[in-house]
């Protein structure tokens, strides 16, 4: 096989290719509009912190990347998606801020409980939501979409109740750290990296990856071979909930408040899309975590690029949709098949 062919056969080829495409668009735009061509990649230090479009993508993409970690597992094990992650983010943020500020308090500069307790409670809340989803899917065998629809609509409202219908502001400086900067580096980037690395380590050092894929591909056969598919699916949903909780508190810290109505709004779509862009089949089975992560940052890069191009926030989704359609079509099996058949035909013709 030629090197090019080997390269294109790699599962990460298309996700990376798409990422590069988005970056190339940035370069072209900058060059065309007379700016420095590599504006996208320039990183400078302003006010003691890193600054630049690339940093912005990495920073703002953190939540999506964290969500993508959990979503990848859920998709693989249960051949379905968890559409509640956005709402669960919001609920976790509310839980966290409510504890920190005290119930019914709209703005607190003094923390009622230690910061770590607040964060832990937020993440735990996510785990509980995940366990609920997991129970419905794994043990009651409800379609994932339907099962997670419950928290999709309920979690945000529960969060609002926890916050007594208020937007709870936490004005203590320590709270903003998680969404702020550690030295010159935006903390969310660090959280996302840690999250991804921990997951990769788990997959490398334990048999979890094998179990999840096996169950996702063939539940019956996995059971005969000694796997407890229900427990494995449940675990995936709990991990997904944990990620949502984590993303929720990062987001709350970023805006130093629990804005129940807006935190994590539509994030589930970005998370699911990340998994798909990463070259993972939404039909479950084999997965590639790195692909999903690349997918997550690709989505953020598209969003950031569009905003940099001056597209208004209300119009951006339209362009985003067009780009996503193109990327998804490039990755579709039908399109790949078409390319394969074409090259096979060409090879046959060359042979005569």
């Amino acid at each position: 096989m030629s090197t090019i062919k080997k390269l294109t056969k790699n599962t990460l080829f298309l996700p990376i290719f798409c990422m590069i495409l988005v970056m190339a668009a940035n370069i072209l735009y900058d060059a065309a509009s007379g700016n420095f061509a590599f504006n996208f990649f320039t990183i400078s230090i302003r006010n003691g912190v890193l600054y630049g479009r690339l940093i912005d993508v990495l920073n703002r993409g953190s939540e999506i990347a964290i969500l993508a970690v959990g979503m990848t597992l859920v998709v693989s094990a249960s051949a379905g998606t968890d559409i509640s992650v956005g709402s669960v983010m919001s609920l976790s943020a509310s839980m966290c801020c409510m504890l920190l500020a005290g119930f019914g308090v709209a703005s607190a500069s003094e923390l009622q409980v230690p910061l770590i307790v607040g964060f832990a409670a937020g993440v735990l809340m996510g785990c509980v939501c995940g366990a609920f989803n997991g129970f419905l899917v794994a043990y009651l065998e409800i379609q994932p979409m339907v099962a997670t629809l419950i928290l999709y609509s309920a979690a945000r409202a529960i969060g609002l109740l926890l916050c007594n219908n208020l937007i709870v502001y936490i004005r203590a400086g320590s709270f903003a750290k998680l969404g702020g900067f550690t030295g010159p580096i935006p903390t969310p980037i660090i959280v996302a990296v840690v999250c991804v690395v921990v997951m990769i380590l788990i997959l490398k050092k334990t048999a979890l990856g094998l179990y999840i894929q096996s169950v996702g591909i063939n539940k019956k056969a996995s059971r005969i071979a000694g796997l407890n598919s229900q427990r494995i699916i449940m675990l995936c949903y709990i991990i997904c909930g944990l990620c949502a909780g984590l993303a929720g508190i990062v987001n709350a810290s970023r805006i130093t408040s629990a804005d129940s109505n807006n935190i994590g709004l539509n994030y589930e779509l970005d998370a699911i899309l990340s998994v798909a862009l990463g070259g993972n089949s939404l039909g479950g089975g084999k997965f590639n975590l790195l692909g999903s992560i690349i997918g997550a940052y690709t989505i953020q890069a598209i969003t950031t690029t569009l905003l940099a191009l001056g597209v208004s926030t209300s119009e951006a989704p339209v362009y985003k949709a067009i780009i996503v359609i193109a990327i998804v079509v490039i990755q579709s099996p039908v399109f790949k098949d078409y390319l394969n058949k074409r090259s096979a035909k060409r090879a046959a013709r060359a042979r005569g």
């Binding site: 048999a207 979890l208 019956k220 005969i224 796997l227 042979r351």
Partner: protein
């Protein structure tokens, strides 16, 4: 084209990554003949068929079909069907969650005047089709509720019911009993008389000599030759397939009758049952013993073994393993007691299609070790290599996805999965299903060898000869109940009589 030729394939060549599956193969099918396509596992039989029906795109060669000008290239099974080529693939590929009737009529549903599906007509038609084959089932039930054998019959019925000039059957009899095979042969002969050309793939040589007129042999993707049946007696056929002389009928077990009733008891089950599949039964298994389960289709052979293993949870009764009372709630419990089960439905319960051969082999072993004790990669590779060599799994590499292996080789991988767990007790449900004669003998020998090491084995096969070659005792089942046991000298006659309900107890 000769005037009785239905279709010709000339110079067909096809490569998969790492494997030349077909190399310049010719094949000719004539009207009103039954043509056996023979070869070892991985010889390229299924691939040749898939090239014909458009599932595989071949690189070189031509296909001509009677009545059609110029070379033909099909793009899908449906496409082939329109040209009169009807196919039953090796792995049943119907929809498990649709009813039998719907499966029989997919893509050609009878319509009402209003353009909706005429359900009544469909169900009546389905009932008629199944009755003609003498299979009495509720056609409105989902396909997945039926045994593999019934599913296979349904797939055949579907293919036959469509008007066709050529009928292609890829190992249609692999999980059928003698009775069903007989029914199938009657059907095939009827079609043959109507001038239909039939391609028949099987690893059962007797079946070839029972119905076929002509044999084409493939070996390693290459054509060995096409022979009229008279010119290729059994020994020569085996030699043509394997490329060497081999006596597949040679006895492998000593004829001496061994009495195990004084050996250590491994399993002592009392009153086990599972609602709807098997009535309460007692079962005793000694160390080093190979026990066969026999009975007609649907008699509960697989079901009995599944209850012991916990694949279907026992709802009544007690079980002792090595003298200790145990409770098995799920297969993993049984595995931890040293058991293993090779299921008969390879596609549904055996292979994890998108995982590699290596991962499929180590899966059960890993499941036993638990999630935190991942087998080191070097160990995984070692085990995979060992079994690939031991039972001659033909695969491009150990990282090849199992779904890309030929049917027989997939079966070997699943067998390897269980051997790797080093079980004390193994249920082998149709272990040689779809496996070629050479390897079949190897597996039978392996079973006897395991027994020699003191392991207990339940052997289930629709082929009685095979059980006679390996088992020292037979349990007879009828209508979901254990009705008797055969010990002492086992003969074909005794077993047949017992199955049919004769007096022998």
């Amino acid at each position: 084209m000769e005037n009785n030729v239905l279709l010709t394939m000339r110079g067909i060549t096809m490569t998969f990554p790492g494997v030349k599956a077909l190399d310049n193969v010719d094949f000719t099918l004539r009207k009103g003949e039954i043509h056996a396509l023979m070869g070892e596992n991985g010889a390229g039989k299924s691939t040749l068929i898939k090239c014909l029906t458009g599932i595989n795109a071949f690189e070189a060669g031509e296909i001509h079909v009677d009545g059609i000008q110029g070379p033909v290239v099909n793009h899908s099974t449906l496409d082939a069907q329109k040209k009169g080529i009807s196919t039953v693939y090796q792995e049943v590929n119907l929809c498990p969650n649709l009813s039998v009737a719907e499966n029989l009529y997919i893509g050609r549903e009878p319509m009402t005047r209003f353009g909706t599906i005429n359900r009544r007509k469909m169900i009546q038609g389905a009932q008629k089709i199944m009755q003609e084959l003498d299979i009495n089932i509720d056609v409105t039930e989902n396909l997945e509720n039926f045994s593999l054998a019934i599913q296979q019959m349904i797939a055949i019925a579907r293919a036959v019911d469509m008007d066709c000039k050529a009928l292609i059957l890829d190992e249609p009899t692999s999980s059928l009993d003698d009775n069903e095979v007989e029914k199938l042969f009657v059907l095939m002969n009827k079609l043959k008389a109507q001038g239909v050309g039939i391609v028949f793939v099987t690893h059962f040589l007797e079946q070839v000599y029972a119905v076929c007129d002509r044999i084409t042999v493939l070996r390693n993707g290459q054509l060995v030759g096409e022979y009229p049946i008279e010119d290729l007696p059994r020994v020569k056929l085996v030699a043509a397939m394997m490329g060497k002389d081999f006596d597949d009928l040679a006895s492998i077990k000593s004829d001496e009758v061994v009495d195990y009733s004084n050996a250590d008891v491994y399993i002592d089950a009392k009153g086990l049952s599972h609602k709807g599949t098997i009535k309460p039964f007692d079962f005793l298994l000694h160390k080093g013993e190979v026990v066969g389960l026999c009975g007609l289709l649907g008699s509960g052979r697989s079901e009995l073994a599944r209850v012991i293993y916990g694949a279907d949870k026992a709802q009544t009764g007690t079980m002792k393993v090595n003298g200790k009372e145990v409770k098995i709630n799920a297969p993993i419990d049984a595995m931890n007691l040293g058991m293993g089960l090779l299921p008969d439905d390879r596609k549904a319960e055996g292979i994890i299609g998108e995982l590699s051969v290596r991962e499929n082999i180590i899966l059960a072993m890993q499941a036993k070790r638990g999630v935190f004790r991942l087998l080191p990669m070097s160990k995984q590779i070692e085990i995979a290599d060992e079994y690939i060599k031991l039972i001659q799994i033909k695969t491009a590499s150990k990282e090849t996805l199992i779904k890309q292996l030929s049917g027989g080789n997939q079966q070997k991988v699943i067998l390897a999965r269980w051997l790797a767990t080093n079980p004390d007790f193994l249920v082998l449900d149709e272990p040689t299903r779809g496996i070629d004669i050479g390897t079949k003998t190897e597996i039978q020998k392996l079973v006897l060898q395991l027994a020699g090491e003191g392991k207990s084995i339940i052997f289930i096969s629709s082929e009685i000869e095979e059980m006679l070659r390996t088992c020292s005792r037979m349990v007879v089942l009828r209508d979901g109940a254990k009705v008797g046991e055969l010990t002492g000298e086992l003969t074909q006659n005794r077993v047949m009589q017992a199955i049919a309900g004769g007096a022998d107890k």
